[in-house]
Symmetry: C2
Subunit: 427 residues, 2 copies
């Protein structure tokens, strides 16, 4: 197939005619499809149904150390849950606090605490004239919503194939004391599916921030969310790397089982240094008596150990792989030669990211909507919802059935082509 750029006006018009007809045919079907939601499908949730059976009235609800999980107590999580989550994120159980059901909530609370009480004795951020966060883009909209909510200025940092542009990160962090953090989804990133390279992680660990309360907000949301059994990305464990580099307090690692067991009914955790943990626990003690230990126990009894999680994630992969491969194969066949956009081929995570030609994303999303396909709003993956090039579109393949997803992807491809051709025709 010829790239559109090399086509004559007549060829483009002929192609457009055919695509218009195809688009109309889809519109006539009155479809209602959704590729916007980064949530597991019912089929995936069914994989975890037996977690509902491991605890019942005939079972002892006590921890290995005898703690009655039904009663008050244990601020930072039961030990066996720390071991399980620790193995999952490659951290020692002593460096972990198990929270409630949402890692987003932990991140929010972490920023909120820094606003009102600072970080390990630093000036509370609400007393400062300016607080800034670095935001690798495209990124996770919910991160940006938190920082925007607290009036924190967000600075875009481009994502490269190896992770965030580290030249820029190193410079901004070293020069500006107002820069207090950076949002990272280091593995199978949302939305591009990029895993930070070894060098990127090592450079992160060796940052020389001007602000002593600068922290890396390491949201390892997709740490075990591989699509393949052998062909997996590997991420250097950052906390150990920070310790080696003499920066043990510089990172907060966040994770959850939301996309492992049940979203909303899973476990969320933070892993960080002893100094940070002490700082956090001082505040956490004021905030709560403790989180849901019965649900912690439920997860431990269901998964048993990290091997149980690995086996479980294989089943998720079996459901997700065909969905990702269908989209990527269709893109390869239909779009690769056209010169109208690019994408990565993620080996895990929850998203595929289509980077269209400049000034096309909004129009593609809008066109798809008119044919019954809901996409994540263009711009959503950028701070303040503003994609400066209007080119990034996030695709969430997990929730729809493979059949629906294929129709939705075909419609999306037609929309990409049509909007791109119109650009060429108008230039």
């Amino acid at each position: 197939m010829k790239p559109y750029q090399e086509m004559t006006k007549e060829e483009l018009l002929e192609e457009k005619k055919q695509l218009d007809a195809e688009y109309r045919r889809y519109q006539m079907r009155g479809l209602q499809l959704d590729m916007s939601r980064g949530k597991p499908s019912a089929e995936q949730l069914d994989l975890s149904m037996e977690i509902m059976d491991v605890l019942h009235s005939g079972v002892d609800l006590a921890c290995e150390d005898g703690t009655d999980c039904r009663n008050y107590g244990v601020l930072d999580g039961i030990h066996e849950a720390k071991v399980l989550i620790g193995d999952m994120i490659e951290c020692h159980p002593d460096n972990i606090i198990i929270y409630g059901n949402s890692s987003l909530n932990i991140m929010y609370d972490t920023i909120s605490r820094s606003m009102t009480h600072g970080v390990m004795g630093s000036t509370p951020w609400c007393k400062l004239d300016q607080v800034k966060f670095l935001c690798p883009v495209p990124g996770y909209d919910r991160h940006f919503t938190i920082t925007e909510h607290f009036g924190i200025e967000m600075i875009n940092v481009p994502m490269l194939e190896t992770g965030p542009d580290m030249d820029m990160v190193e410079k901004l962090v070293a020069e500006d004391e107002a820069v207090k953090g950076i949002w990272c989804v280091p593995k199978y990133s949302n939305p591009q599916g990029i895993t930070y390279s070894d060098e990127t992680v090592r450079r992160f660990a060796r940052l020389k921030p001007a602000a002593r309360d600068f922290r890396i907000y390491w949201d390892n949301a997709y740490g075990v969310h591989h699509l393949y059994d052998i062909d997996q990305d590997n991420l250097v464990e950052i906390f150990a790397e920070c310790k080696r580099a003499g920066n043990p307090d510089m990172v907060y690692k966040f994770c959850s089982t939301s996309k492992i067991s049940f979203p909303g009914s899973g476990l969320a955790a933070i892993a960080t240094s002893a100094n940070n943990l002490e700082d956090i626990k001082k505040q956490l003690f004021v905030q709560t008596i403790g989180y849901d230990k019965v649900n912690q126990l439920r997860h431990v009894r269901f998964f048993k150990d990290i091997h149980g999680i690995t086996e479980h994630m294989r089943k998720h992969a079996d459901i997700l792989r065909p969905k990702f491969e269908m989209i990527l194969d269709l893109f390869d066949r239909e779009l690769a030669d056209r010169g109208v956009g690019s994408w990565y081929r993620p080996k895990g995570g929850y998203f595929i990211c289509y980077e269209a030609m400049d000034n096309c994303a909004k129009e593609i999303v809008s066109k798809a909507k008119k044919a019954g396909v809901v996409m994540t709003p263009a711009g959503a993956t950028f701070p303040y919802g503003k994609d400066p090039k209007d080119s990034v579109i996030r695709i969430a393949p997990t929730y729809p059935s493979l059949e629906d997803l294929e129709v939705a992807t075909r419609i999306f491809v037609v929309c990409v082509k049509l909007v791109s051709i119109e650009k060429f025709l108008n230039n």
Copy 2:
């Protein structure tokens, strides 16, 4: 029995001699008893074990409206949980947000949000020179810990038999714009077991605060925690009362099922006006995708309706009543005529409060400890841990067995008598 005040020095010394001997005998037993913890006993927790059976892999985990409780979504709680909690706290389901497992956490988050974002558009409290809270005393230490954590100045307001001293509350609230809230445990109060009178609630609803972001923090922790089936305290429902008085936005009601099902694994909720809810949800949307809906469903399926909760609380009462009555009867027999302190006779809740002679509480608690009985630290029921008269001692009868509790109470009575006699001898 003669009041100690009317005894001669010789009589006091003779009494002291006998008490000293009794105290020694207890000490020799090397006991380890605990009357400090306001938590349910294992026997009480056993009452809820069947809540672990209502959901299992063979059961549909969908709400009445079809929502899959296993997946993301529903920020403010599933409808049927709002109905259940609404009936429990006499509020319309539309006025309720179901949170996670801890009402303390909701209260913390409420204050934290007010610090960083104000209340319905008011100046964020962290930008103000001074923020003050009224604290009816004695009260719940965890409330005071939250306000202290945020640097909020706490002003003691004496508790009367009818609730907080409303003359003082009305005056302080009306005169000082820095007064932004008051902590209330309006029913079977912690620690005295007082229920606010109808007049007190009506005066609360008719407060004329100088600060438009003043709110009543109404922690109805013991709303259904009666000891008796007929002989119950009645609390006027404050939200309806506030609406009648033209102050619909003035109250936040907090509650949880922590002492109904399992502490740490229950449901917590806030009830308040539509305006307040809108303000809260704007922030809550940033903080989380949603709370544990599976656990919400579990509670609904277990209790079914408010009648289910009432029946369940009867079983709790059957376990708690003998404990409360044993202590109160022993106090009546051993202490009532001595003129060395006073207490209320709560009809519900989790505590009994012994108000000793001035400057005696610390010494009594310390003496009890040396005989193997742990009490809540003297002062804990006051802001900053400072009981100005050093007279209040909180007694938590729920956790120990009746047998242990009786021994502990007898030791406590001996300690009260000994410390009081020493006071009389030294004056």
